[in-house]
Each structure stands twice: as C-alpha cells, then as structure tokens.
C-alpha cells in the first residue's frame, strides 16, 4: 500500500466515499457517483502519469 499506485488508490477511495456521501442522498446514487469518482481519479492519475512519463525530470 505504500507504493505510488497503492497510495493514490487509497486516496481516491477515501475522497470518492466522502464526496459521494456528501453529494447524493440515496444509497444507489451514492454508489454510482462513488464508483464514477473513484474510476475517474484512478484512471486520471494513471493517464496523467503516462502523459508525464516522456518528460525529462
């Protein structure tokens, strides 16, 4: 869990849970929003990582 991907996934999980709970009232809608947020955060993170990969650092 202390890898970059593990920490990012855990972070995305927490943020998704809190935002989905805050922004929706029905459990079904919370699940839908939470999964979308989680997928967006993890997928976006991986995509951004690959886009930055060719840059010399």
């Amino acid at each position: 869990m202390t890898t970059h991907l593990g920490a990012m996934t855990l972070f995305a999980l927490f943020v998704s849970i809190v935002f989905a709970t805050l922004m929706r009232d029905e459990p079904r809608e919370q699940w839908q929003l939470g999964l979308r947020l989680f997928g967006g955060l993890v997928g976006g993170g991986i995509l951004a990582g690959w886009l930055l990969y060719p840059l010399p650092l």
Partner: protein
Amino acid sequence: MAVAAADHVRPSGLTCLICAAAWALPGGGHLWLGRRRKGLIFLVTLPLMFVCGLWLEGRLFPFEPSQPLVALAAFADIGIGIPYFIAKALNEGAGRAIAATFEYGNAFLIVAGLLNMLVVLDAFDVAQGRK
C-alpha cells in the same frame, strides 16, 4: 418541499453547536441531525484517512505566519477536529521528509481536514433546512 425544509430551521445558537460538533467529531453533526448513515460513514472514513496520513509519515504542520503555505497546511490539518489533538498529544505527525510516502502522508492529512470542513458546511445546510 421548501416549506417542509423551512419547518426544520434551527436557532442560530444550536446551529453553531451542531457545526462545532461536526468539526470536533467528523460526522458528529450529521449524527446529531438524525442522518445516521451519512454520519457513520464520515465518522469512519475521515479519521481513517487521517490515520493513514500519519501511517504514511506525513507531517502535522505548525502554525507559522512567516510561512503562509505552512500556515495554510496547518489550518487544513486542524480541520479534522479531535483526531488532530489526539495525534498531537501522542506526539504523532512529526513527519519524516526522507520517507518515500512523506508527500502522500501530507496529502492525506490535509485533504482529510479539508473534507471535514466540507462535511461541516453540509451539516450547516442541513441544520438550516436547506437540504
């Protein structure tokens, strides 16, 4: 619907108490307002995120007005409420800058505090009958 919500408007003193409870104990405001499910989710998730930040060797920043970014991070850290003071009392949150997970830990600690501030605002809206 708006009329029904307006029926549940609380006095401002009580609303302040609810907001203070929501800040001190993540989810406490929602539990007070009878939103048990949401309150329990916040009560578990936010302190767990804060603990993960400590586990990842993040730092609880001190209030240093001479360093605005550090002061802002400290303000965000304290947003989690009682868990912050427990961690301070246990001498946790010293941070280890050479740890690979140091920045992740900081992100977890800061975002946990900021998310709890959003939860406080949500509790305020509920207490005011807006939700």
